[in-house]
């Protein structure tokens, strides 16, 4: 069994449209793994990524990456974002308007590594665009540049905050393939926030379903999102009201999703 790279327990009160909720999440993520956080907007998925990156401080808990403590409230330890070896892809891309695509990749590197930059430009089909500034790029091209920039410093952990949500389905599929290739080549442990089930099924090894600040179900995407057989309908709102047979139906994001209830899925009552 692969050893865990990230081991974390994060607690934080967050303001959402439904009022203040307490985010309380434990994750163990294997090295080179690709996991997804799934749930409707406002449940704290982005906050989890921000806490891992150090941009938001948890109220309490810990983040352990390999042998290093990045955050530990009992030791009053909180390592600065700059010292955490991560790549973060923001929902709004956060490209720098003054830099060309190529400038972005070089800026991200501690030491100039032309080969790595060329590899990234190649994987993300950015060679032709490398002298262009963000304002002249389409949504998909910006997204590619943002992912390439995040990978330019060879991060241990790649955090993707709904990177493909604003793109049309064709562009999204091409980019999903590029993300798979990049993950295979650079094998950064990846955490993706998404609410697209097809995307999660294509990309991730494991999905964590988050509702009202808690992980309620986790498992392999194909098992968690098993829509093949009609399940027994039972309303589910981030809290398990009943488990009937081997089927659960969960209402997330105002859509109904069927979950198979068997021992391959961990169910944590809220």
């Amino acid at each position: 069994m692969e050893k865990n790279l990230i081991d974390l327990h994060l607690i934080k009160s967050i303001h959402t449209i439904e009022g203040i909720i307490e985010l309380d999440v434990e994750l163990e993520i294997p090295e080179h793994g690709f996991i997804t956080l799934f749930g409707k907007s406002g449940v704290g998925k982005t906050t989890i990524l921000r806490m891992i990156s150090g941009l938001t401080k948890p109220d309490s808990g810990y983040i352990k990456v390999g042998e290093e403590d990045w955050f530990n409230s009992s030791k009053e330890l909180n390592i600065k974002t700059q010292l955490r070896n991560i790549g973060f892809v923001f929902q709004d891309y956060a490209l720098f308007p003054n830099m060309t695509v190529e400038d972005h990749l070089f800026y991200a590197q501690k030491q100039k590594d032309v080969n790595h930059v060329n590899d990234l430009l190649n994987i993300f089909n950015l060679e032709e665009l490398k002298k262009r500034k963000p304002d002249t790029l389409s949504g998909g091209q910006k997204q590619r540049a943002a992912v390439a920039r995040a990978l330019a410093r060879k991060p241990k952990i790649l955090l993707l905050d709904e990177p493909l949500s604003a793109l049309d389905s064709e562009t999204r599929q091409i980019l999903q393939q590029e993300i798979i290739t990049a993950h295979r080549n650079f094998s950064a442990t990846t955490i993706l926030v998404s609410h697209d089930i097809d995307e999660i099924s294509r990309l991730a090894d494991k999905v964590y379903v988050i509702s009202k600040g808690r992980i309620i179900i986790s498992g392999k995407p194909e098992i968690v999102f098993d829509n093949k057989e009609p399940g027994i309908e039972s309303s589910f709102n981030g809290r398990i009201s009943s488990v009937s047979g081997n089927k659960l139906t969960v209402d997330l994001n105002e859509e109904k999703h069927n979950f198979r209830n068997d021992d391959q899925i961990k169910i944590t009552p809220a």
Partner: protein, 226 residues
């Protein structure tokens, strides 16, 4: 007479240049602090900096004159320990100018910083870059129009400054007599031809600067749309 005319403009321009350069250096950290700091009393600092926008220049000039005067403790302290005299000297009108023009520089820069998405700063931090690197390589290059507006406004406003300089500098040729005060002085002596000469110069000068500011902003908007 022509000599005095050029000397007066030289002082005006020297004052405006020095004010602009010093305020640019002070303005960046101040605007950065006002935009990003979580400091609770920030609002008080902000209000103090913006006071010259609403305060009559004569009020500011009056208090500065008292502060600079060797009859009061601060002026006395400066004179005794540093041999610096601020009342009725060029250094004095420079200090007055710095205080008076602070909001023009700081507010322009602050608007620039606030209009940048927070994620730019966050993204730079996640790439391992320090605050200083982020400021120099990411934030400042992306608020160029705000920087240029701040510089031009400060420069133009210093050229047109009157009340504060008259209060603390008086009208000493070669030292504190600037163009705007010269206009007043010439009118007082009923020398309208000379007053007209100064005024026309000031008018054209300010007009060119305003065209420049609008030109920059228009150019930037055009550039953003490409």
């Amino acid at each position: 007479m022509d000599n005095l005319f050029f000397q007066t403009f030289e002082i005006s321009i020297k004052l405006a240049l020095l004010t602009t350069i010093i305020l640019f250096l002070i303005g960046i950290p101040t605007a950065y602090f006002l935009t990003y700091s979580q400091f609770r009393l920030k609002i008080i600092v902000q209000a103090l900096i913006s006071m010259p926008l609403v305060l009559p220049p004569s009020v500011l000039g009056f208090y500065l004159l008292l502060t600079f005067s060797p009859n009061y403790w601060f002026g006395d302290f400066l004179a005794r320990f540093f041999d610096i005299r601020l009342a009725f000297t060029f250094t004095g009108i420079l200090v007055g100018s710095l205080i008076y023009n602070l909001p023009f520089m700081v507010n322009s820069l602050q608007t620039g910083f606030s209009n940048l998405p927070q994620s730019l700063k966050d993204a730079s931090y996640t790439l391992g870059k320090t605050r200083i690197t982020t400021l120099i390589k990411v934030l400042l290059p992306n608020i160029k129009p705000a920087i240029l507006t701040g510089i031009c406004l400060t420069f133009a406003h210093t050229i047109g400054e009157f009340g504060v300089i008259l209060m603390i500098g008086g009208n000493i040729p070669g030292q504190t007599r600037v163009a705007s005060i010269a206009v007043y002085d010439e009118v007082q002596s009923l020398n309208f031809a000379m007053a007209h000469k100064y005024s026309l110069f000031l008018f054209l000068f300010s007009f060119i600067i305003m065209i420049f500011i609008y030109g920059i902003n228009k150019e930037f908007l055009r550039w953003k749309k490409i």
